[in-house]
């Protein structure tokens, strides 16, 4: 079990301050959703945590060790990253994609067996010989997730993994990713506010390059922080221990709904 921590991270790119002295720590396990309006800096924070972007100021540590000097192979063993956009350049079979991912784990002799197991775990055996170009959006996101978690990284970071998926696929994918938080850490940047409050233990709200709120899903469910941040009146309800939230009307500039 490892934890990721960011300390006073700032990212400045061509005069724009994308992140402003953001501090954030994951803990050793748990599922965390990062939500916020477009341009809040969510994806940038995730990339900095993944070691894919170098912050202008501040440090990221993985299990207490700075990410900056860490060998890339060790970093990639610990952190799995699901990008927002993924399209392999050459058309490729699912089994070959899985093979490329599993090669990192250096299990030279056992690759076939592990490949089969991984496909089975994600219900992808039927897709083994399918070409990427023939997969639907939902199938592609399942394959991408399977690729990233094939080597069992303790930390899973995902950037809007359910963008452009139908409701069933969205639910399935987010549930699978959030499940990772039971044995490890998962941090997901997402726009699905409803799924964030339903499946994740901890919610981080970002706006204007800063963290505006950080707490348990329960504690952040009712307050109108969410409404103010998005400029939308949210409708909330609870059923057993499920939290349901959905966007209602846009707020007028005087704070009242139309």
């Amino acid at each position: 079990m490892v934890s990721l921590a960011a300390e006073r991270i700032s990212v400045v790119r061509t005069d724009r301050r994308l992140l402003d002295s953001v501090s954030f720590a994951t803990g050793e396990s748990g599922s965390i959703a990062i939500i916020g309006p477009n341009g809040a800096g969510k994806s940038t924070l995730l990339k900095v945590l993944a070691g894919l972007e170098t912050p202008t100021e501040g440090t990221v540590t993985l299990a207490g060790e700075p990410l900056a000097g860490m060998p890339a192979a060790r970093r990639s063993d610990a952190i799995g990253y699901v990008p927002q956009h993924f399209n392999p350049h050459w058309d490729i079979r699912v089994r070959d994609l899985m093979r490329i991912s599993l090669e990192r784990a250096r299990l030279e002799n056992n690759i076939q067996a592990t490949l089969q197991l991984t496909l089975a775990r994600h219900g992808l055996e039927a897709f083994r010989d399918r070409w990427w170009s023939t997969l639907s959006g939902g199938e592609r996101s399942r394959v991408l997730l399977a690729m990233v978690v094939a080597t069992d990284p303790p930390v899973l970071l995902a950037d809007e993994p359910s963008a452009s998926l139908d409701p069933r696929c969205r639910l399935d994918l987010i549930a699978r990713i959030a499940d990772h938080g039971r044995t490890g850490v998962c941090v997901v940047v997402m726009h699905d506010i409803d799924l964030a409050f339903r499946f994740f233990d901890r919610i981080v709200m970002m706006n204007g390059g800063r963290i505006v709120a950080d707490g348990s899903a329960d504690s952040l469910f009712e307050p109108s922080l969410l409404d103010d941040m998005f400029g939308v009146r949210f409708a909330r309800s609870r059923q057993e221990d499920l939290r349901f939230i959905s966007a209602g009307w846009p707020l007028r500039s005087d704070g009242k709904s139309p």
Binding site: S76, D77, P83, N87, R99, R104
Partner: protein, 327 residues
């Protein structure tokens, strides 16, 4: 497995045809006799002249196939081919200097050395320019390659104009630039074979990195790759491979572009298959092209680069039209 056997058969058949072809065609039986140490003059000629040349042509093709596979893997561009990063311009400039400038050493030595130095040196220059421009990413490398190639081409043209006179013919330079095999000794063939084997091993070592790069630079970095360093290393290995082929065969175009596509079309994109398959396909293609070069217009010999361009281009278009988008 079946595909690999077909490939092997293709390469052997191409070499066989090459051995039979020439401005005097011989039968496969005669070739066999020559290999088995026949005593006739025909066997001696075949063994000392034609066979080493055909095998050297195949090895040059293998090197081009290897370089092409690495370049396409690094640049993820279906038009990427070995001469992209100044290798052709640099090699041609080196050869022009060797052929036109009176140097203290013999041309037999200076030509291959300067061609190799030119090809590889040009690539190092392109990497240096890209570093100075701030990034070792693909677009910067490509743009630097175009700029450096243009400058080298201009330098070569200037040298050709300034140094040519009645005693030195530009034809000499042109015929090198258009590509063509000299006849090596068996020792030369052995040396080239070792170089090819080393190039194959080096390119295969890049296979896993090239696979990751094919997933995009973000994913490759997330999978633990230092993209900038890997790209520079791969470009150097690819260019050295191409420089070696240029040293022996001059500028032979199209093969480095087509061979990896044909390999990928049947085998999928994993580089541990594409790289050796591309080498084999390149070997067969150049052996066949050399056969055509020697036998199409006897007793003259068509420059090899012209054969590969003229015969290969339409063939590749035909393949393109047939295949789906599975490069």
């Amino acid at each position: 497995m079946r595909y690999w056997l077909t490939l092997l058969a293709f390469v052997l058949a191409a070499i066989g045809i090459g051995a039979c072809a020439g401005h005097t065609w011989v039968t496969p039986a005669a070739v066999l006799r020559a290999i088995l140490g026949g005593a006739s003059i025909e066997s001696a000629l075949l063994f000392e002249w034609r066979l080493p040349r055909v095998i050297a042509a195949a090895l040059v093709g293998a090197l081009l196939g290897l370089g092409g596979a690495v370049f396409q893997g690094v640049f993820r561009n279906p038009l990427a081919e070995p001469y992209l990063l100044g290798s052709a311009g640099g090699a041609a400039l080196g050869a022009t200097i060797a052929l036109l400038v009176p140097l203290a050493v013999s041309q037999a030595f200076s030509l291959p050395v300067l061609a190799f130095a030119g090809a590889w040196g040009a690539t190092l220059l392109v990497i240096g320019v890209s570093r100075a421009a701030g990034a070792l990413d693909v677009p910067t490398l490509l743009l630097s390659g175009v700029a450096v190639s243009a400058v080298l081409g201009a330098l070569r043209s200037f040298l050709m104009l300034a140094l040519s006179d009645e005693t030195v013919s530009l034809q000499v330079v042109l015929s090198w630039v258009l590509g063509g095999m000299q006849t090596p000794t068996w020792i030369g063939v052995g040396g080239l074979a070792i170089v090819t084997a080393v190039a194959l091993a080096a390119c295969l070592a890049l296979a896993s990195g090239l696979d990751k790069l094919g997933l995009g630079e973000t994913m490759a970095t997330a999978f633990g790759m230092d993209v900038g360093r890997f790209v520079a290393l791969a470009v150097l290995v690819g260019s050295a491979t191409v420089a070696a082929s240029v040293t022996v065969g001059g500028l032979v175009g199209f093969v480095g572009l087509a061979a990896p596509h044909i390999a990928r079309w049947r085998l999928g994109p994993l580089h541990r298959s594409v790289i050796p398959a591309s080498a084999a396909i390149g070997a067969g293609l150049v052996a066949l092209a050399d056969a055509i070069a020697r036998s199409a217009l006897p007793p003259a010999e068509i420059p090899l680069g012209l054969v590969t361009a003229v015969a290969g281009g339409p063939f590749f278009l035909f393949l393109l039209a047939r295949s789906r988008k599975k490069w």
